[in-house]
Amino acid sequence: MGDRKGIIATGAVIGTLAALLVKWGNPANMGICVACFIRDIAGGLGLHRAGAVQYIRPEIIGFILGAFIISKATKEFRATGGSSPLMRFVLGMFVMIGALVFLGCPLRMILRLAGGDWNAILGIAGFAVGIILGTQFLKKGFTLGRATEQQKANGYILPVFATVLFILLVASPSFIFFSESGPGAARAPLVLALGAGLVVGVLAQRSRICMVGGIRDLYLIKDSHLLLGFISIFVFAFIFNLYFGNFNPGFLGQPAAHNDGLWNFLGMALAGLGSVMLGGCPLRQTILAGEGNIDAGITFLGLLTGAAVAHNFGIAGSPGGVALEGQVAVLIGLAALTLIGFAYSAISLGFTSSSNSAKL
């Protein structure tokens, strides 16, 4: 499904479901946030102990299983991997750190804007800058290398992991955490959240929607296809937020947000840069993981670990702003990724075989 109608419809459904999920109980301006929800899952599993954000989010389970089911049905499911797995894990950690400093993944960035949170504007600006920087590396030949077909069992691990998460969520044994207050306690009913996740998982897999790709392709090849999906999400979320009375414009006092412009900008710059180097935003990585892409599966685990580290080390942002630990982490991330970008570009140029002189 590569046509315009398909991606606009996908964006419409995602934007509408995001607004509905808030109405059904998810935190304000956070109907869907891949970063926040993976962070909540990390909390639910006890990987961090920030009491306000612990809950195994069914939406993420739905994304993975939805993508799995549809890719199996269309025979697109394939276990591929081997493209710098450990590097992807690290990049995933940094993307999460950047996102948590801003308090949102690229999708939530759009949803915050659609809810009137103008702080998201700085996030979008930083995101675009990070993407442009990452694209320069791509043009210079940055690549994490080839992925190849892997032993099939590997491709099933993330879908099985998602199923296990679901079982843990429903059975709620004593070692699984459920926030009693804060954003982690704000949750849509399980069936609705899971259902929404499955629908989004299927549509996102079919349309290949990706927040990073939207800006990246516009800049790189002047193609606005993915950006249309991006805009469609915004328009529909905005309309329904207005309808449900969930549109509250301003910079101050926004839900699960802070107004430290510099760190909103830099946090999303890190997320944007890392996502370009990974080949997709956190939503896209989650969908790819459901399709059997092991590299994306490892990236997902990197996102999960990054979330745990962010809260254990006091890096994540809070409505009060960004602590020194968070600022340092973002700066380290930007420096590290820039270094990786330069180093890999130089190495990949050296690897270019003479039969493929496309790299110029």
Binding site: G2, E76, R78, T80, S83, L138, K139, T143, L144, G145, R146, A147, T148, E149, R208, G213, R216, D217, L220, I221, D223, H225, G279, G280, D295, S355, N356, S357, A358, K359, L360
Partner: protein, 71 residues
């Protein structure tokens, strides 16, 4: 006009498109062959080539696709 092959197999988005674009920019016109192994790459490369005015033909040879573009 010499033929030219771009092997984009195993490459993650957006590398196949970048590699193809760089090859097109270098060559200008003629026949170009691009090897890909994901439906995403197959579709994106085809779209790019069509947008740049090339005639595109795709041949499936499991698990890859051979895309031949010509201007």
């Amino acid at each position: 006009m010499k033929d030219f092959t771009v092997d984009a197999r195993g490459r993650a988005c957006p590398e196949p498109v970048i590699m193809t674009k760089q090859a097109i920019d270098a060559k200008g016109s003629g026949t170009l062959t691009i090897l890909v192994d994901t439906t995403v790459a197959r579709d994106n490369v085809g779209k790019l080539a069509r947008k740049m005015g090339f005639a595109v033909s795709v041949k499936a040879n499991y698990p890859d696709w051979t895309i031949t573009i010509h201007k």
